[in-house]
Symmetry: D2
Subunit: 357 residues, 4 copies
Amino acid sequence: MAGNTFGVLFRVTTFGESHGPSIGCVIDGCPAGLAIDEDFIQQEMARRRPGQSALVTRRREADRVHILSGVFEGRTTGAPIALLIPNEDQRPRDYEHLSDTFRPSHADYTYWAKYGGHRDHRGGGRSSARETAARVAAGAIAKLLLRQHGIEVQAYVSQVGHIALQTPYTALDLSRTETNDVRCPDPVLAEQMAQLIRQVRKAGDTVGGVVTCIVRGCPPGLGEPVFDKLHADLAKAMLSINAAKGFEYGSGFAGAAMPGSQHNDLFTAESGHIRTQTNYSGGIQGGISNGMDIYFRVAFKPVATLLRDQPSVNTAGEPVLVKGKGRHDPCVVPRAVPIVEAMAALVIADHWLRAQP
Amino acid sequence: MAGNTFGVLFRVTTFGESHGPSIGCVIDGCPAGLAIDEDFIQQEMARRRPGQSALVTRRREADRVHILSGVFEGRTTGAPIALLIPNEDQRPRDYEHLSDTFRPSHADYTYWAKYGGHRDHRGGGRSSARETAARVAAGAIAKLLLRQHGIEVQAYVSQVGHIALQTPYTALDLSRTETNDVRCPDPVLAEQMAQLIRQVRKAGDTVGGVVTCIVRGCPPGLGEPVFDKLHADLAKAMLSINAAKGFEYGSGFAGAAMPGSQHNDLFTAESGHIRTQTNYSGGIQGGISNGMDIYFRVAFKPVATLLRDQPSVNTAGEPVLVKGKGRHDPCVVPRAVPIVEAMAALVIADHWLRAQP
Amino acid sequence: MAGNTFGVLFRVTTFGESHGPSIGCVIDGCPAGLAIDEDFIQQEMARRRPGQSALVTRRREADRVHILSGVFEGRTTGAPIALLIPNEDQRPRDYEHLSDTFRPSHADYTYWAKYGGHRDHRGGGRSSARETAARVAAGAIAKLLLRQHGIEVQAYVSQVGHIALQTPYTALDLSRTETNDVRCPDPVLAEQMAQLIRQVRKAGDTVGGVVTCIVRGCPPGLGEPVFDKLHADLAKAMLSINAAKGFEYGSGFAGAAMPGSQHNDLFTAESGHIRTQTNYSGGIQGGISNGMDIYFRVAFKPVATLLRDQPSVNTAGEPVLVKGKGRHDPCVVPRAVPIVEAMAALVIADHWLRAQP
Amino acid sequence: MAGNTFGVLFRVTTFGESHGPSIGCVIDGCPAGLAIDEDFIQQEMARRRPGQSALVTRRREADRVHILSGVFEGRTTGAPIALLIPNEDQRPRDYEHLSDTFRPSHADYTYWAKYGGHRDHRGGGRSSARETAARVAAGAIAKLLLRQHGIEVQAYVSQVGHIALQTPYTALDLSRTETNDVRCPDPVLAEQMAQLIRQVRKAGDTVGGVVTCIVRGCPPGLGEPVFDKLHADLAKAMLSINAAKGFEYGSGFAGAAMPGSQHNDLFTAESGHIRTQTNYSGGIQGGISNGMDIYFRVAFKPVATLLRDQPSVNTAGEPVLVKGKGRHDPCVVPRAVPIVEAMAALVIADHWLRAQP
């Protein structure tokens, strides 16, 4: 239970360090007979890939996914699917000077404390967001499974720094999300966000943001009562992403200020289908999907690596200066969009299987 | 994996319906030798108990906890601890008229859809917040375990409706929390909140709120990398509480707007102990506790049961009117405080065990 | 993971000690809509009940099962099913003299060593076979689920001491099993076994035996490859029963001496149904059921409690004499028959759910 | 829960098919700081390797283990350890004629039935014993962990066909086990067994056998009460090995015929250490290790692949002839010895971690 596995019936175990030979994952529980579209997997990887635009880190990785098992003649067999992604642009030597240093707001100190000093310090080792590449690969397969059943997951950037998109998702044209480097469906705001990101990068600084995610086509009945509520598992999935600080679904924190008489979603029956007139519930009631759109928001903190020198301490407790250098993202949210989608797809796929029969 | 179990090594399974003979839980994994203070358990139950003040539901339950197993001569034996709480004030007949009706923003429809029409409709059955009594009982035992190791969990109400406490927890006297019915440590705001709750109750309406929680004394090293990050498990735990809509820890959603140069928590070493100067990280870095205070906030929606008639549909999809009657809370947050603490204690106890040795 | 839970999707957690107020279990994952026949549960309890015949322990327990949750109007709701069985004939004082003594071949020493001296010593506490009453109650519900799908589990005594039934199960009339106190379907051998049991009891001694179990009507496809093979889970289930020492299925240990040319089960197709001509595979191939009868055998050691004085040591390592007194079974296998069936039913029900859809 | 993961805290997930590009595993939960001796891993692989002697299959695999993650500067970091073993001598074309055929007593039919016809038929695909190479690699790491704590696991062949070693393990010189190709510590019997294997191979037939395994140095306290008894987990582990048909520990099936007065292991205290005079308990009492040697036996059926033509049916239910050709072992037990050890090491390592603190 060392925490590297996610899911109950659609179960993903990831492995690998930022500057080791490769990262990857094993998916156990994917039903047999699913057609595996390798191009689709690769497209998803490209959305998360470093070096994809001027707004992100310059590390160069092809992120080519090798399927080692579980797929035969283009279809899954029910056996575990092992996916391998070689690390091509690892630069372990860039981190030699950091082997004894705790970078501020990174996981260096906590890993050191937890594992008795045994840690791969190179670029964060296991704690690096490079691990999320394996999640995107696994999420792509989850998406293929969900697509078979008419379920689509789509995320976009709704905030960078103080620039926030106020329009509800229902009034947005989400097909525009991928038309800009920020992945914000509002082109005007997207450009402002891009400018802000360029600006903080120039200043050697970083900035946080928010990703909004929508799940469409989810049938009623997904999610388990009590502890494994659908939104509880979504919350865990989202908070498990590097740099995530908050999660809200449906009315979220704003719902706390609303009266019940306004917040309640009234039921209607439309030609046999039961729906709600409003959707403050965010598509989930009592932890179980009700057939309406599921939507939620995830807050991300600013990246901890700066292009500025920062004071810190080393393993001996002595003061040191952390040099501001290396490759990193000035803002994680553009690349977080496919990661949020992947984790959402993993949660929904898992609960889709759990809800059968 | 039907979702009624929480935790990995400190593992709680709850059972029971709102208007059945009793509710309860089984704790598996509590270490042997822990002294069980039954008075303490009962005090915790009293904090969550219905009928405790004029601000909450009038259902009357003594919530007496019976220990059926796992404790011998006042100490745990390592065997499963079964806790039984009889339902004394159940009124199944109050709900007869609702057997075919879906109350708005309740779990009636989703349970009906998920379980093929088989559901205990009485007062929400399994979906009722009555289930959380079992969590508080289990949480009390987790608290006893944590106390042994110097870890304390404390929560308070920080928002009711639009009335929000802006003072950070570090500037509050939390010992005042239990001195008022709202459980807000600021007496002036507490009174305003109480007034608002009385007002919405009078109007047959309800209102939401926010609970803030602090964990003190948590040593570095709790939490597992990647998926079972400490804050990810806290998020799941909190979102699994009835009516919860959002979770944030440390800087939370506000952190999204901050620059990294301000957000980074710089390390210092004080007589061998490594600490951070600020604590935007919320006591957790890379998913692992760093020894600083852990703090987080949980948003709750307004209660869905109103003292007003509401239009809805029944199982046949026909329009019906849901009568505004019955016993319920006008605002959940005063009673949510011990529930948030209980779930936090369960998460920390679980990760405390997982971090050994 | 303290080991008190069995199963993945049909999941049972038991609790309780031999001389505590009650024992019981929580079943999580039983599908909604299953009709619960309480008389049937009680009949199953009667088959395991102490005091049922002259061949077993004289402890008197009605073993009345109280359903606390998860059943509404006679059918399961999908919520956890809590079952409570009060201990009526507990006699804690009978064990006072044993609080510091390790009885030979009991779990007294190992529990003491494992739990740092904290243990309920009364009649073995948690390690007592009394715990299996909860398994039989849970197993009865599993049987009701399996019966719905045409699957039946039936066990019988095939050996007591050196008296062994050589006839294969296919040549036996299993309807005779319950016509004698030993639960052996061969009446002549049953009488010999009964005599042997009476004889060893008279001599203050005990004797072991073997139970054979058959699962009929199991469709092809149950069981998971690699680690969770159907027979591997059956082996674990059987070895988890008190006093069990061995498990074999199909050809078992005898198969080790057979040539492959004789052991292979040749396939035939009968009106579309694929069957095998022989069944040395025991109904399971590659860990997955093939539609033929599943059969296996479980060996039980002689009961460790004797009506004879035995030398031993106490917690201080000093020599002591364990007095030969108290209530116990001279041979466990007659009462083990319903326990073996219960555990088999739990395994098959679990894999039946895992094989869906 | 598709069954490809073993263990709770020391947790291994295997992947890969017999004729795919590679097989491997991910170990999650190995403590940080363990020195990884790659030579030792490779030696263990060599003991299971095909082509190692004239008694086994002629498939040629170097079985080189590549460590992809979790090890840094020769020591584990607490991160998941991914191990990759390329398949070098796969011959998918050898199996083309079998794509629609169910080989007798193989898993062809059950996989086909379970996975809706989607299966990798090449050499058994996922059901092939090639998967056990990944177990041996993982088991080698478990052995390194156990060795740190003074625990050693050693197995040997105790029966081939009807030739059975009657000497108890305590009277054998187990250092002789690896001096012959059969892995039987009695050189005279080893030669007889080797002759028998050569003879059945010549006859195009196969034969089964028994492996005995000893665990020395296991401290008291390993194993969990009730369901996860140490011997129950050993039984599951052993029965999960391809071709295993039975498991017994301590007195085993023979114990069923013994009187309790003979079977009970009397305690003695030797200079503070509590021991038993005999060890019919097999080192485990009440499911928990008592500090004595743990020993058990595992029965294996004869290999199902014969060098003889056998009648069978195909996926259409039509009669076909399965040609007797290909590479296979005439008897599995010589190569099963390291697999039994590996699975035992995984069980003990898992329970060693579960028993902490």
